[in-house]
């Protein structure tokens, strides 16, 4: 059954081909979601096949063909089926399928309907290549593929200058990360003579001593790649702008799947990263700081989708924190639950925009639960999940991360995580209260809003995702062995993923006793409740008006609402010098030296010569004849007297 896995890639590829070459709406609306759904079914079948194997054999390679034949440097098109990759496959195709279905409603009136599904299917293909490949070159292929699809989809409405610019920004920023990632991967390739995971991971502990500079450099380079793709500091700037794309794209690519590629990459390369403790600390620190940083911006942003984008950056920060402290399965667990609840919230935002004439400013919404109840109440599930309220999914995964961070002695990072949890609960509650509760702040005028619930093909994915946001955490966290209790290592997901994260010579995870764990849970849930309560006081009860807070904390407010001036700083430090260099190259080097001196010089030289010789060509035939005669005479004279 495992050998079926190539179908999961080929079916969406077939869909992409059909939608590209036979772009008809009535075809795309069936084929687009259909192939992804079929890929999901394939994923489930493979999962069953994988579970039938004993845990220590749950890693199979499925060979397809030799991509680059070379003497001893062969690169194979071959797929790795193991718990990690199959979980990612199920997330990508499962959430992907729901979002495809949703898109049939959301994009219903778009003239480029089939092209949209072509891009989406292509994205699924690239993402599956990324997660299923069994070597770094295939991962890189998928990595660039998803980047391309992201670019195409952010710029889907390219006639809007903001969308075109956002697409360009995403592409350029990702290029910076990808550049580092490429060097890291090529370095590995050069060192091991192969890009194959199995060879690299089995030989790495012998080749590198733990903490050796080379492995630290390689992993840091790979991590820079991850910060680009997964929107972490300092390369996160593209993700908020990426919200210019259609909302299903934001949900699928910029929340649930593509941005988690960095997390997946590090989890997949955990052997290398664990050999470089310094890199691990960098990963954890960057993750925690990004989580806090993005959350502060989300506190004050007025745009529905951008709050969600900053929230995504923040949640990705949690995942990197988990990965960095070595809690790999907790990180992947959070990746899974986040995919559900963040996709849910993005689709909810899309549904709001759909029903409210593309309004995204939360201050011009209000009381929407009256007009779009399904959207509103499913959104509440996502809100409670991300706020970490039990028994919703986010509670379990976030709590695992925080507990493990604390248990491994990173108290500072844990504290940042808890503060971020409170901020997260606050800013999501702010969005929920402003958009779905309180009084109506949109106008009912002629061109304005007639808020209405979305059609069924949009609400059903919302309902499914809402259910997943409720139960997936608890379900995956069920203890496998009842005697061992509720520790993270004993959960369903950790047990399932364990074969992917095995490593010899790793220090055993420190034990957390039940009391500590309960205290930690109480603190993180308390933080979430505190955030919600504060938002309730400010935005529903209005005991403390928001304007009062912005005056008191004016410096902070300015800092947050200008996004810490990061865009401005990058503009001054990077964009302007780059533009100046480009201007210099274009004006001085290109136009001056190349066009002016080299090309213009050659032309001027020819012009000079031809001016000197031009009088010969008078146009009078008799003159030519005369010259010919002189020539002939000269020849005769030459032959007569010289020879």
């Amino acid at each position: 059954m495992i050998e079926l896995i190539p179908l999961a890639i080929f079916l969406p590829a077939l869909g992409a081909i059909i939608n590209a070459f036979y772009p008809r709406k009535r075809v795309a609306r069936i084929v687009g979601p259909g192939v992804v759904g079929a890929a999901f079914v394939v994923g489930l079948i493979v999962l069953v096949g994988l579970l039938a194997l004993p845990p220590d054999q749950r890693s199979r390679d499925v060979y397809l063909w030799t991509w680059m034949p070379g003497s001893g440097l062969d690169v194979y098109m071959s797929l790795r089926v193991d718990p990690l990759s199959i979980l990612m496959t199920l997330i990508v195709t499962g959430v992907g399928f729901l979002i495809h279905v949703y898109s049939t409603g959301y994009m219903a009136d778009d003239p480029k309907y089939a092209r949209f599904f072509f891009y989406l299917n292509l994205f699924i293909v690239a993402m599956l290549v990324l997660v299923l490949g069994n070597n770094y070159l295939m991962m890189f292929l998928g990595w660039e593929g998803v980047g391309l699809c992201s670019y195409l989809l952010i710029g889907f409405w390219f006639y809007k200058p903001e969308a075109a610019n956002a697409a360009k920004k995403a592409f350029v920023v990702n290029r910076i990360g990808d550049f580092a990632f490429t060097i890291g991967v090529l370095w590995l390739f050069w060192w091991f003579g192969t890009a194959d995971y199995t060879t690299i991971f089995t030989r790495a502990p012998q080749v590198f001593k733990a903490g050796e500079p080379a492995i630290i450099a390689i992993t840091l380079l790979m991590f820079i790649g991850a910060t680009g793709k997964s929107a972490q500091l300092p390369l996160f700037v593209w993700l908020p702008d990426a919200m210019e794309g259609p909302t299903p794209v934001s949900a699928l690519i910029h929340a649930a799947t593509m941005v988690t590629a960095g997390v997946y990459m590090i989890a997949r390369s955990h052997v290398l990263f664990e050999l470089a403790p310094i890199t691990m600390q960098v990963v954890a620190t960057v993750g925690a700081i990004t989580a806090l940083f993005a959350a502060t911006i989300a506190l004050v942003h007025p745009d529905f989708k951008r709050v969600l984008a900053y929230s995504t950056i923040s949640q990705l920060g949690y995942m990197f924190l988990a990965i960095g402290v070595g809690a790999f399965s907790a990180g992947i667990f959070h990746l899974t639950t986040h995919a559900f609840f963040k996709a849910l919230m993005f689709l909810g935002a899309g549904s709001v925009m759909h029903g409210l004439a593309n309004e995204t400013n939360i201050f011009r919404m209000g009381n929407l639960r009256k007009y779009m109840p399904i959207t509103a109440y499913t959104f509440l599930f996502g809100w409670l999940a991300i706020s970490g309220i039990p028994p919703f999914a986010g509670f379990f995964s976030k709590d695992d991360i925080l507990t493990e961070t604390f248990a491994k002695g990173y108290v500072g990072l844990w504290l940042i995580g808890v503060i971020t949890a409170a901020l997260t609960a606050f800013y999501m509650s702010r969005v929920v209260f402003l958009a779905f509760f309180r009084r109506e702040c949109f106008s009912h005028d002629a061109h304005g809003a007639h808020p209405h619930e979305s059609p069924r093909n949009m609400t059903i994915p919302l309902i499914v995702l809402a259910i997943l946001s409720l139960i997936s955490g608890a379900l995956l966290r069920l203890p496998v062995n009842l005697n061992l209790g509720f520790v993270a290592e004993n959960s369903l997901i950790a047990n399932f993923l364990a074969p992917s994260f095995e490593m010899t010579g790793r220090a055993p995870a420190p034990e957390v006793d039940l009391n500590t764990m309960l205290v930690l849970i109480a603190i993180s849930v308390g933080a979430g409740v505190l955030g919600i309560a504060l938002a309730w006081i400010i935005y529903i009860k209005r005991w403390i008006p928001a304007s009062f807070l912005t005056t008191i904390f004016k410096p902070l407010y300015i800092l947050f609402s200008h996004k810490w001036f990061v865009d401005e700083i990058y503009h001054a430090l990077i964009v302007l010098p780059a533009l100046a260099l480009a201007q210099f190259l274009s004006r001085i080097i290109d136009r001056g030296v190349i066009d002016g001196v080299l090309i213009g010089g050659a032309a001027a030289l020819m012009r000079l010569w031809s001016r000197a010789l031009r009088w010969v060509e008078s146009g009078f035939v008799r003159e030519y004849a005369f010259l010919t005669l002189i020539g002939a005479v000269l020849l005769v004279v030459f032959f007569l007297f010289r020879l």
Partner: protein, 100 residues
């Protein structure tokens, strides 16, 4: 027997007349005729040499020259006729648009 030099002198005179005609005349038809004159002057030298040296190659060459000049006249006159249609002139000095 007439010495060879006589033939050569006559041929040189005819050739010079032809060459001067090509240079001096402005009417294209006359230029053609002068070219024919030059060609036939050359033919005369060929024949003379062939007769004096008792070889046939010179005579064969003359046939070739006649053939080629006939072809050349055919093409040239066609061009001339067409030129006359276009410009109503056969004066070569009026046709000087091909200057550099």
């Amino acid at each position: 027997m007439i010495p060879l030099s006589h033939y050569l002198i006559v041929s040189a005179i005819i050739f010079t007349i032809g060459a001067v005609g090509v240079l001096m005349r402005r009417n294209a038809i006359l230029i053609f005729m002068c070219i024919e004159l030059m060609l036939n002057a050359v033919n005369l030298t060929f024949i003379a040499f062939a007769a004096y040296q008792k070889v046939v190659e010179g005579q064969v060459f003359v046939f070739f020259v006649i053939t080629v000049s006939a072809a050349e006249v055919a093409v040239g006159l066609a061009i001339l006729v067409y030129l006359f249609y276009q410009r109503l002139t056969t004066d070569v000095d009026d046709i000087s648009t091909l200057k550099g």
